[in-house]
C-alpha cells in the first residue's frame, strides 16, 4: 500500500502539469465547438510558436538562476533589422541571419553586464529592454515597414499541413531538450542555477556557461523576431510588447523554479500551451480582454503558490528521509 502511495505521489509530482494540460484541452473542446477545428488549432499553434520559442530560452536562463526581460524588445529590434534586410536584398537567408545576429549581440551584452560586471539579471535585462525598444523605434523612425513580398511565407506558410513556425518550434524544443539533458553545458546550467558558488568550487566555468546560455537565448529571440514579423507581414518596431512576460509565465506554470536549478522543456511547453489554450478559449467565448488579463495573472499567482507549496512538501519529506538514513544505519 505504501508503494502505491509513493507511486501516485511520483506521478502527481512529475506529470501533474501534463494532466492539467489534457484536462484543459478537454474542457475547452466542450466549452466551444470551434475550439477543435483544424483552423483554430493551427491558428493557436502559429501564435504560440513565437512566445514558446522565447519561453524555451527563458527556461534555460531561469534554470541557471537568471532571467531575460529584454526578449520582447530584442525580438522587435531583430525583426525590423531582418525585415529591412529582406527589403534591401530579397534574400530570406540573409534576413534570418541578420535577425539571429542581432539577437546574439544584444544577449552577449546582457551576459557582459551580468557575468562580467555582476549586474543583477533583472536590472541588466530591464536596461536592455528599454534600449532595444528605443533602437527599434529609432531605426524605423517609429514607422511600420510594409510591402514585404514573399517574406510572409516563413510565418504563414506550411509544409504539407504543418505550419512552418511549428516546425521551427519543434526543432528548437528538441534542441533545448538535447542541450539540457545531453550536454555538459546543460548539466552545468542546473549546477550554476542550483548553487553558483558550489559550481565554481567544482571547477565549472561559470562565465562560459552564462555567456553561452545568453547567446543561445539570443539565437532563439532573433529567430522568433523573424517569425513574428513574417507572420504579421510587416516590420513592427512596437510589436511583441510584453512577450517576455508571456514567456516567463509559460516557464513558471511549467514548473521552472525561480530559485534556479529546476526546470524542464516538457514543463515549459505544457505551460505555454496552457496559457495559449486559455487565451484562445476566452477569445472564442468573447471574454472581455481586460478580464483575460485578470485570469492570466491569477493563474501565475496560483502556479507560483503551487510551486512554493510543493517545495515545502519536498523540504518536509527531506526531513523524513534524513531520519530514514538514521534508520538505515542499523
Amino acid at each position: 500500500m505504501k508503494l502505491d502511495n509513493n507511486f501516485w505521489t511520483t506521478v502527481k509530482k512529475k506529470y501533474s502539469i501534463y494532466l492539467i494540460l489534457v484536462g484543459l484541452f478537454i474542457v475547452c473542446s466542450l466549452a466551444n465547438p470551434n475550439f477543435l477545428s483544424i483552423n483554430n488549432l493551427t491558428n493557436i499553434s502559429r501564435q504560440l510558436s513565437v512566445t514558446t520559442i522565447l519561453a524555451l530560452g527563458a527556461t534555460m536562463l531561469i534554470i541557471s538562476g537568471m532571467l531575460d526581460l529584454s526578449s520582447g524588445s530584442v525580438l522587435a529590434l531583430a525583426g525590423v533589422f531582418a525585415v529591412s534586410t529582406y527589403k534591401a536584398t530579397g534574400s530570406l537567408l540573409l534576413a534570418v541571419a541578420v535577425g539571429i545576429f542581432t539577437g546574439i549581440i544584444c544577449n552577449a551584452i546582457n551576459a557582459l553586464m551580468i557575468s562580467t560586471f555582476k549586474a543583477p539579471p533583472f536590472i541588466a535585462t530591464l536596461a536592455m529592454l528599454t534600449v532595444a525598444r528605443g533602437a527599434a523605434l529609432l531605426y524605423t523612425k517609429g514607422q511600420n515597414i510594409l510591402q514585404l513580398g514573399n517574406f510572409v511565407e516563413l510565418g504563414q506558410g506550411s509544409i504539407g499541413v504543418i505550419p512552418i513556425p511549428i516546425i521551427f518550434l519543434v526543432a528548437i524544443a528538441i534542441l533545448t531538450w538535447y542541450l539540457l539533458n545531453h550536454t555538459r553545458f546543460g548539466r552545468s546550467l542546473y549546477a550554476v542555477g542550483g548553487n553558483e558558488e558550489a559550481a565554481i568550487a567544482s571547477g565549472i566555468n561559470v562565465h562560459k556557461v552564462k555567456y553561452t546560455v545568453f547567446i543561445i537565448n539570443g539565437i532563439f529571440v532573433g529567430l522568433a523576431g523573424v517569425l513574428f514579423m513574417s507572420r504579421v507581414n510587416a516590420g513592427l518596431p512596437n510589436g511583441a510588447i510584453n512577450y517576455e512576460f508571456t514567456a516567463l509565465t509559460a516557464a513558471i506554470i511549467g514548473g521552472t523554479s525561480f530559485s534556479g536549478g529546476i526546470g524542464t522543456v516538457g514543463g515549459t511547453l505544457a505551460g505555454a500551451f496552457i496559457v495559449g489554450f486559455l487565451d484562445n478559449i476566452m477569445n472564442l467565448n468573447n471574454v472581455d480582454s481586460y478580464m483575460q488579463q485578470i485570469v492570466r495573472g491569477t493563474i501565475i499567482a496560483l502556479a507560483v503558490i503551487y510551486d512554493i507549496r510543493s517545495r515545502n512538501r519536498r523540504a518536509n519529506s527531506m526531513l523524513g528521509k534524513v531520519q530514514d538514513q538514521g534508520a538505515a544505519k542499523k
Binding site: 505504501k2 509513493n6 539533458n181 545531453h182 550536454t183 555538459r184 548539466r187 552545468s188 542546473y190 549546477a191 542550483g194 548553487n195 558558488e197 558550489a198 559550481a199 565554481i200 568550487a201 567544482s202 571547477g203 565549472i204 566555468n205 523554479s257 530559485s259 536549478g261 529546476i262 519536498r314 518536509n316 519529506s317 527531506m318 526531513l319 523524513g320 528521509k321 534524513v322 531520519q323 530514514d324 538514513q325 538514521g326 534508520a327 538505515a328 544505519k329 542499523k330
Partner: protein, 503 residues
C-alpha cells in the same frame, strides 16, 4: 525529588512519510542542570528538539513543564513557556546589524507601535558589555565571522531570560577560547537554575559540561545516565551500536619526494609569506584558530581567490593556478569548510552532484551516457559506503555525513594527487568521520597527498604526519608527529611561540 524536574517528555512519537523518526521517547531534564543529547546524525535529536521548541507537533505523547502538561504549538508559545533554542545552522540576514539581530522578533515598541530604537541600542550595549564582546551595535552581520555570529545567537537566547535553553551544536563554529567563555556562561546559567539541553558531537566537550547524558539511536532512547556513570568509549559505543576499536585509523606509510611546494605565498590583508611543502604519502595538518588564514591559503591555492603572489610547484614543476579548472587539471582538489555553500547543489540528485567535476567521463560523443554514469556513481557510492535511497534522490535529503561523503566522492572520481580537506568532519557523525579518516589513510597509502585544515586538535594530532600552525595570516610553527601535543599547537596558534622553537 520530583519537584526537581523541569521538563519531561513522555512517550513522544513522531513519524514522517515512510519513517518513524521518534519512537516512544521518554526524557527528563532536571532544574539547573545540563543534559546532553548524543547520537549520530539522523538519530532523532533535532526532531525531538524541534518538538520541544514547537516547530513540529508530536503524533502522540505529552510534554510537561514543571510537571504540568503543556501544548507547544509554535516557537513563540515555546518562548512564552520559557524555552529558547540556538540552532546549529544559523540563518541570518547579512545586512542586518547586531542590534537588529539581537532583538529580531522581540523589538520593544513605544505607545504608537513604533520601535523604541533608543531602548534597543541601550540594551544591546548592555548585553555586549556584559558578555565582553567588542562589536558596535550598528555593525552589520556580514562584517562578522561565523563564530562572532554564533556568539550573538547564544547571547540572544540568553537575553530572553528562558528557563530552558536548547543548544544544538553551539560550538561547531566557534574558537576554543569562545568555547571556554560559553562554558563559563553555561555554568552561570546553571547556577541561576536554568536548564540546558545541549547537543554535540564533540564528546570531550560533552564530558566537560554535562550533568546527565542521554544517547539516542534510530529514534529511541538507548540509555540515559548521570555523567559519572559513563565514559567517552561507552557513549560512542552506545551511539553507533558497536564498539569502534580505534578512533583514528592512522597507518605509517613510506614518504616519497615533494608533491607540492608553496613559497612566499601572499594575499594582501589575508596572509603573507606562507611557505610550506608536502611529500607524497604525507597527511599534512594545518592547525590554528579561526581567522588565522588557513582557509584563505587553501582557497587561494585551489584557485578560488586567485589574487596572490608567490611560487607554487606541483611535482617540482612551477604552476600558475588562477581558477579551479586549472587546479583540477594539476590534480589538486579541495573540499570546502562550508558544505552547503561550496559543496552541494541541494536540489539536484546525488548522481548529478557526484559527477559534477567529471562531466567529460559521462558526456562524450555528443550525448550523456546514462548507463555509464549510473554505474560510475553506484560504484563510488558503494565504495565510500554512502547511504542514499536512490542515486536520483536530491542530495539535500541526505544526512550531513552522507552529503559530505558525496562531495568527497565527487573528488575521488577525479583521482586527485593532492586532496585538501577544510574542516572535513564538522557537524558529521562518528561513523562518517571514521570513513573519512579511513579514506585519508588509503590515499596516503597510494602515495597521494592529503592536507587537512581542522580546528579539532584530536583530529589533526590523530591523523597527520606533520602539522603547520598558523596565526595572524602566517605560519608560526611546524611540528613533526613525534612532537605533537595540544599544548604546543595552541602555543603556536595563539602566537606565544613562533617558528624556530621546535622544528
Amino acid at each position: 525529588m520530583k519537584e526537581n524536574i523541569k521538563l519531561r517528555v513522555s512517550q513522544i512519537e513522531k513519524s514522517f512519510p515512510g519513517v518513524k523518526a521518534l519512537d516512544k521517547i521518554d526524557f527528563t531534564v532536571k532544574k539547573g542542570s545540563v543534559h546532553v543529547l548524543c547520537g549520530e546524525n539522523g538519530a532523532g535529536k533535532s526532531t525531538l528538539m524541534k518538538i520541544i521548541n514547537g516547530i513540529y507537533q508530536p503524533d502522540s505523547g505529552q510534554i510537561y513543564i514543571d510537571e504540568k502538561p503543556v501544548k507547544i504549538g509554535n516557537p513563540i508559545q515555546a518562548r512564552t513557556l520559557g524555552i529558547s533554542m540556538i540552532f546549529q545552522e544559523m540563518s541570518y540576514v547579512p545586512e542586518m546589524t547586531v542590534e537588529e539581530n539581537l532583538f529580531l522578533g522581540n523589538l520593544p515598541v513605544k505607545r504608537f507601535g513604533n520601535v523604541n530604537w533608543k531602548e534597543v541600542r541601550q540594551r544591546t550595549q548592555e548585553l555586549l558589555v556584559a558578555e565582553n564582546l567588542p562589536y558596535s551595535p550598528t555593525t552589520p552581520l556580514k562584517d562578522l565571522t561565523i563564530s562572532d555570529i554564533q556568539m550573538l545567537e547564544i547571547i540572544k537566547a540568553i537575553s530572553y531570560k528562558s528557563d530552558i535553553i536548547i543548544m544544538d551544536e553551539p560550538t561547531s563554529a566557534i574558537t576554543l577560547k569562545e568555547v571556554e567563555k560559553l562554558f563559563v556562561k553555561i555554568r552561570e546559567l546553571k547556577a541561576r537554575g536554568v536548564s540546558i539541553i545541549y547537543i554535540s558531537h564533540k564528546l570531550d566537550e560533552v564530558f566537560q559540561i554535562a550533568d546527565d547524558i542521554t544517547v539516542l539511536r534510530d529514534g529511541t532512547v538507548v540509555e540515559s545516565h548521570p555523567k559519572e556513570e559513563l565514559d567517552i568509549e561507552t557513549v560512542i559505543a552506545l551511539m553507533v551500536g558497536r564498539k569502534l576499536t580505534t578512533t583514528f585509523p592512522k597507518e605509517q606509510v613510506p614518504i616519497g619526494e615533494d608533491m607540492l611546494q608553496v613559497e612566499n605565498f601572499n594575499y594582501p590583508n589575508l596572509f603573507h609569506n606562507v611557505n610550506f611543502h608536502v611529500k607524497k604519502g604525507e597527511i599534512l595538518g594545518f592547525a590554528g584558530l579561526m581567522g588565522s588564514g588557513r582557509t584563505e591559503v587553501m582557497r587561494s591555492l585551489f584557485g578560488l581567490e586567485p589574487k596572490t603572489s608567490g611560487v607554487v610547484k606541483i611535482k617540482g614543476q612551477e604552476v600558475k593556478i588562477t581558477n579551479v579548472q586549472q587546479s583540477i587539471q594539476h590534480g589538486m582538489v579541495m573540499l570546502s569548510e562550508d558544505r552547503r555553500r561550496y559543496g552541494i547543489i541541494p536540489m539536484r540528485s546525488v548522481k548529478e552532484n557526484t559527477t559534477l567535476s567529471n562531466l567529460k567521463s559521462v558526456f562524450y560523443s555528443c550525448r550523456n551516457h546514462k548507463k555509464i554514469e549510473r554505474k560510475l556513481v553506484s560504484e563510488i557510492l558503494n565504495k565510500m559506503k554512502i547511504k542514499t535511497p536512490t542515486i536520483d534522490t536530491p542530495i539535500a535529503t541526505l544526512s550531513g555525513g552522507n552529503q559530505q561523503k558525496v562531495v568527497l566522492a565527487k573528488w575521488m572520481l577525479r583521482n586527485p594527487d593532492i586532496l585538501i580537506l577544510d574542516e572535513p568532519t564538522r557537524g558529521i557523525d562518528v561513523g562518517a568521520k571514521y570513513e573519512i579518516y579511513k579514506l585519508m589513510t588509503d590515499l596516503a597509502k597510494e602515495g597521494k597527498v592529503v592536507i587537512i585544515v581542522s580546528s579539532e586538535l584530536p583530529e589533526v594530532i590523530g591523523m597527520c604526519d606533520r602539522i603547520y600552525v598558523m596565526a595572524k595570516g602566517t605560519i608560526t610553527g611546524e611540528i613533526n608527529r613525534e612532537d605533537f601535543s595540544q599544548e604546543l599547537i595552541m602555543r603556536y596558534a595563539t602566537g606565544t611561540l613562533t617558528a624556530g622553537g621546535v622544528n
